[in-house]
Amino acid sequence: MTRNGPVLVIEAGRTERHYWRDLWGYRELFFFLAWRDILVRYKQAVIGVAWSVIRPLLTMAIFTFVFGKLAKLPADGVPYPILVFAALLPWQFMSTAVGEGSNSLIQNANIISKVYFPRVIVPMSAVMVSLVDFLISLVLLSGLVVWYRWWPDWSILALPLILLLAMAVSVGFILWLAALNVRYRDFRYVVPFMIQVGLFISPVGFSSAIVPEEWRLLYSLNPVVGVIDGFRWALLGGAGDIYWPSVVLSALISAVILVSGLRYFRHTERTFADVI
């Protein structure tokens, strides 16, 4: 027992001084919450795992048919299914993370109103479930790669970095949306719509090379574009030329979203328990 240990002073309007140290102290809770979400998701093992296999495969088949066969969009010599799947990987990761993450505070309202911990743990741990789904899809992709005999080259080493970028983008959006969701409860109707629109304005079903050169930079204002281009480049061995300004712009924009999201989240999190 720490009898005369550190004194904690709770005061009106006082911002948490040891926020990050506190967050580190609660890292076990972060893992436990992530573990719970993963466990619950895969509890009915057959359905859980099957779902995370069927969904990307089915989407890939549809996109390949619509964009590759009907619209006959160019694929730069890459088999169309692989082109689509390489983009579906980050897209599904980001969209499920944002979808789950933005609802996570509301879903854990009972915990938030009864126990103290840095609230940011909740949306962060929701990202972990999507990460597991992502890893399962990655295994699927390696199967596809073997099937089509399309071997990646050294650029695959950049994959972890680009995954990090994908996480930064998602977490940035999640922090904003989760906090807004607590304050304005009808935000949950906005999120699925945003994700749906995002699917069509992001180069998931097609290569971003089909966007005219002069529009490319403007197109890259959507931070998802850089992430998806990066994934394709890393996984497909630089087959489609990567447009670097777009990746850099994505990284910059996602940094802005992440930092501003964190600030907004920290600003509002002190009142979560009162309004949730």
Binding site: M1, A12, F32, R36, Y116, F117, R185, T271, A273
Partner: protein, 426 residues
């Protein structure tokens, strides 16, 4: 030794929104408000707002100091600010005014089973709930067997808790919480769960925690629990501290709604003595069988209510002492009058009324003391001192309570033991 908790001018303001449904605002409302304000500016006239706001102080200027190892009960009516205070102390919500300094690790237990997931097994939930309550994984591993044994759910460890009976669920949930290690334990009305046997086990556990020198803040509506567990009691009323002191005194002032009614009194210290030209009230007491003034009684305890009074000269009537019993909520329990009273000579008298055990239900009571004089001309009330005395009847929660494991409140004013018979007839 530095105090464990030091609160200074603690206040918490909530903004009540009329019109909007819940505590949260919706984006739609915000947009509607914004549009309306824009319309106001453009049209240059006032448009009635759809929502009105009202500030409400759930806590206001609450200050207290709690020393290390103190066991403090917090009581008050619903909405008095008890839960808000606990939420501030456990950092769930931040105060709107004032500050509180806390020395040591705080574990708060505002609900049993926070974060329990129905799909997960008992084993998984122990880890999850432990982590949510702030236990380190190593700590949970170390105490795992103890937790399971305390909850008595060994056989169902790998069953999802959605298949648990509510009793098992609560036992497991409390068990995890009971094994929290902290310097300061903040507990909200969580003992009011489970069957009586388990409740007593929990109380025992809490007592053990208290004995080990940890600071406990405990909210309860159960005064018996407060008196047996706490060394001090704080009464909150409308967000303010209305009483702070020994549990017995504070609980009585709570029952009396601010004005305290003692277990005994002597009007010699009063500014005036109740009564008329024929009689005066001198004092009164609630006494146990041994004749000691007491306000805490068990269901089965017989006790005496006594009244001292003086008959003055010139009364040619029969002065009849009568006692009026009220429950703490104001319900008239009964009136009793002394039988066979004759015309009395001037002098000092004591009237005693013995109330048998197993008559009154548990709860707080007030006694009004009165003297009524009967003569051929009719009757005169010489004095009637309302709520002159008070006492508390406790349910010992043992075999004599006839509860068979039922842990909830037993309704009714009286709780007599009656002759029952039960035979098999077919």
């Amino acid at each position: 030794m530095d105090p464990a908790v030091e609160a200074r001018g603690l206040g918490k303001q909530y903004v009540l929104r009329h019109q909007s449904q819940g505590r949260y605002t919706s984006l739609r409302d915000v947009l509607a408000e914004g549009t309306m304000r824009l319309a106001q500016r453009v049209l240059g006239r006032h448009v009635a707002s759809t929502t009105s706001q009202e500030a409400f102080w759930a806590l206001n200027g609450v200050s207290f100091v709690i020393g290390q190892g103190e066991r403090v009960g917090i009581i008050g009516r619903n909405g008095a600010g008890k839960s808000t205070l606990l939420k501030i102390l456990s950092r769930i919500t931040e105060p709107s005014a004032g500050s509180v300094a806390i020395r040591g690790r705080v574990a708060s237990l505002l609900e049993v089973g926070t974060g329990f997931h129905p799909e997960l097994t008992g084993r998984e939930n122990i880890y999850l709930n432990g982590a949510i309550l702030g236990m380190a994984k190593a700590e949970i591993v170390r105490k795992f067997d103890e937790i399971v044994a305390f909850a008595e759910v060994e056989r169902f460890l790998d069953t999802p808790v959605k298949r648990y009976s509510s009793g098992m669920y609560v036992r497991l949930a409390f068990s995890v919480a009971a094994h929290l290690e902290a310097d300061i334990l903040v507990v909200d009305e969580v003992l009011a769960v489970g069957d009586v046997q388990f409740q007593r086990k929990c109380l025992g556990r809490m007592e053990a925690v208290a004995q080990s020198g940890r600071t406990i803040l405990f909210v309860s509506h159960n005064m018996a629990t407060i008196t047996s567990l706490c060394s001090r009691c704080i009464l909150l009323d409308a967000g303010k501290v209305a009483g702070d002191g020994a549990p017995s005194d504070v609980i009585l002032s709570y029952y009396a709604g601010g004005t305290s009614s003692p277990a005994s009194f002597d009007t010699a210290s009063w500014p005036r003595q109740p009564g008329d030209e024929h009689a005066r009230l001198l004092g009164g007491a609630v006494q146990d069988c041994a004749g000691h003034p007491t306000y805490e009684l068990h269901l089965g305890d017989a006790f005496e209510v006594s009244m001292r009074y003086r008959i003055l000269a010139g009364a040619k009537a029969r002065p009849v002492p009568n006692f009026h019993f009220f429950r703490a909520d104001g319900t008239y329990a009964f009136v009793t009058s002394m039988p066979n009273v004759q015309v009395a000579e001037p002098g000092e008298y004591v009237a005693k009324c013995k109330v048998p055990g197993f008559l009154l239900n548990d709860g707080g009571y007030f006694v009004g003391l009165a003297l009524t004089s009967y003569s051929d001309a009719g009757y005169v009330v010489n004095f009637y001192e309302q709520s002159a005395l008070s006492f508390n009847v406790r349910d010992p929660m043992d075999e004599s309570s006839n509860r068979y494991g039922y842990g909830g409140p037993v309704p009714g004013v009286v709780r007599p033991r009656l002759d029952w018979s039960g035979v098999r007839v077919a």
